[in-house]
């Protein structure tokens, strides 16, 4: 992966000035490269990575496995697109193995998710079956551990 994308994956809020120093470039060039990535659709956005264990909300998260019947012309593509358009769907992946699509969805409550599965997902033409797994706790997300281990704090602050 491009070194600029690597750095932005680590910290999307890093300033162009700091990025330029790290990557031996200039702030103007860094800004231009980011703009180009955005224009090309390679960078799709910047978000804060929250610790769901600590954010005050009643939201419920679930992973849903879907078996679907591919369509003659578009294969899995158009049905995946139809499903992805629901705002409840955070992520949608085509999978190998025992099922076809893996969704991560968010709802206001358990009933809300249940209703979405029963009334929306299952009724879509081509959806053969669903299996819903509610998420209980987040240990790690997007490469970031949510609980701080404090091993590092025992590190001495000045050593040879």
């Amino acid at each position: 992966m491009d070194n600029l994308l690597e750095e932005l994956k680590k910290n999307g809020r890093e300033t162009a000035e700091n990025l330029a120093k790290m990557l031996q470039s200039t702030p103007a060039e860094i800004e231009a490269r980011i703009a180009e990535y955005e224009k090309a659709g390679i960078i799709r956005g910047f978000q804060a990575l929250l610790n769901p264990n600590m954010v005050e909300t009643d939201d419920v998260h679930a992973a849903i496995e879907l078996k679907i019947r591919p369509e003659r012309e578009s294969g899995f593509g158009s049905i995946a697109d139809r499903i992805s358009r629901f705002p409840q769907v955070d992520s949608c992946f085509l999978m190998s193995g025992g099922y076809d699509l893996l969704l991560f969805v968010t709802g206001k409550s358990l009933q809300d998710v249940a209703h979405f599965v029963a009334a929306e997902l299952s009724t879509i033409d081509g959806v053969l079956s669903t299996a819903t797994h509610f998420m209980l706790k987040t240990y790690k997300d997007q490469g970031v551990a949510m609980e701080c281990r404090n091993g590092g704090e025992e590190r001495l602050s000045v050593t040879p």
Binding site: K21, M22, Q24, G152, R155, S157, V158, T159, P160
Partner: protein, 388 residues
């Protein structure tokens, strides 16, 4: 009552780093650039291997030399990385970090009054370790203008009939210097011409950002007079495992082993198991950490130069060694005021030898967030000094 402590130890100065450590320990909100160890966690698969070894009952002594598995793995690694051939049965000794290996080799080769040449600025333990071996440390200065490389002319001026060994550390703590090809050959020739043992501490060998580093072990012509010291601490972020090794001619390794046998017995068994895993499966971890260090180095050097503290771009290790001469302060004053007034810990250059005066050592083995805060504070301090 009489003093029971030997004259040698009584006269040995405490490390200049220790004093700073004591001050920092009582302060809050300090950003430390004073740390000489990786900030990364040990790669999890390596730690897991140590845990599994514990579960499997690997809690006994090992062979004095180290486990055959680890010695074989070290031999493979040196062959793979540096094209160096060592017989794992007789030419490799596993030690408690490179620190122990250094102590062993000096005690094994020095008779009282023998002289050991080494370059300054250097790792704080070198002159002390030489003195503890009842030998005489002879320092050779290196200069920022020459990217802290060691010149043979300077060595020739100081070599005597009592000179026994030349002790080198490239990539260098605290300067980050790496030898250029020409310098590398000159030094090997010098050791051969003067019939010296060459002790090469290459613990930072994996932290080489330009590909310029060459191991002395890759030179067959000096094989008989080379003791190579290396370890796992810096390459795989394994400082707490206390694991290093020495490779060299059978006679010297055998002598070192005797001291090790009576003083230490064997390196920690769990650590040796972890070391095997690191060398076998840890290349990607090294590459990942090296890439991160490289970006931090670039950031820190650009920032320090940007605020008028002249800084050589170092080719290796994880230190930069900026000059603070433009501020008119001594390195000790600069570091103390930086700590007391701006809560950034860096080590004064004079802790690494006289010619380190006028510099401070900043380690970038800390997060980008810490580096950014430190740079901001050092900038404030420099600006305040300039306004006076």
């Amino acid at each position: 009552m009489r003093s029971f402590v030997t004259g040698t130890v009584r006269d040995l100065p405490k490390s200049g780093i220790r004093r700073f450590f004591d001050i920092v320990a009582d302060m809050k909100d300090v950003v430390s650039l004073g740390v000489g160890e990786p900030d990364f966690d040990t790669p999890w698969h390596i730690s897991r291997t140590a845990i599994a070894a514990l579960e499997n009952g690997a809690t006994h002594y090992t062979s004095n030399l180290g486990t055959p598995q680890l010695r074989r793995e070290i031999a493979n690694y040196l062959d793979r990385r540096f094209n160096a051939r060592y017989d794992w049965r007789s030419e490799i000794l596993v030690t408690v970090g490179v620190s122990e290996a250094l102590d062993l080799v000096l005690r094994a080769i020095c008779d009282p009054g023998d002289e050991v040449l080494y370059h300054e600025p250097c790792f704080v333990a070198y002159p002390a370790a030489v003195k503890l071996a009842r030998a005489v440390p002879v320092s050779v200065p290196t200069y920022a203008e020459e990217s802290f490389r060691l010149r043979v002319e300077e060595l020739e001026k100081r070599v005597t009939p009592r000179t026994k060994a030349l002790l080198l550390n490239f990539p260098c703590n605290p300067t980050g210097a790496v030898l250029c090809e020409e310098n590398f050959r000159e030094l090997a020739d010098f050791a051969a011409r003067r019939d010296l043992l060459l002790i090469s501490d290459e613990v930072y060998s994996e932290l080489d950002y330009t590909g310029a580093f060459r191991s002395f072990a890759s030179m067959p012509e000096i094989r008989d007079r080379l003791v190579l010291l290396n370890g796992f601490s810096k390459s795989w972020a394994m400082t707490g495992f206390r694991l290093g090794y020495a490779c060299g001619p059978r006679e010297v390794i055998d002598a070192m082993m005797k001291i090790h046998q009576y003083g230490i017995m064997s390196a920690p068994t769990l650590s040796q198991a972890a070391g095997v895993r690191a060398m076998r499966e840890g290349d990607a971890d090294v590459a990942r950490m090296r890439e991160e260090y490289r970006r931090r180095r670039n950031f820190l050097v650009a920032s320090l130069n940007g605020m008028g503290l002249e800084t050589v771009m170092p080719d290796g290790a994880f230190y930069v060694f900026p000059s603070i001469k433009s501020t008119g302060l001594s390195s000790e004053e600069f570091a103390l005021r930086l700590l007391n007034e701006h809560s950034v810990a860096a080590v004064p250059g004079c802790a690494f030898g006289e010619c380190g005066e006028g510099y401070i050592r900043c380690s970038y083995a800390t997060s980008m967030e810490n580096l950014k805060t430190a740079v901001k504070r050092i900038g404030d301090f420099s600006a305040a000094l300039a306004r006076r």
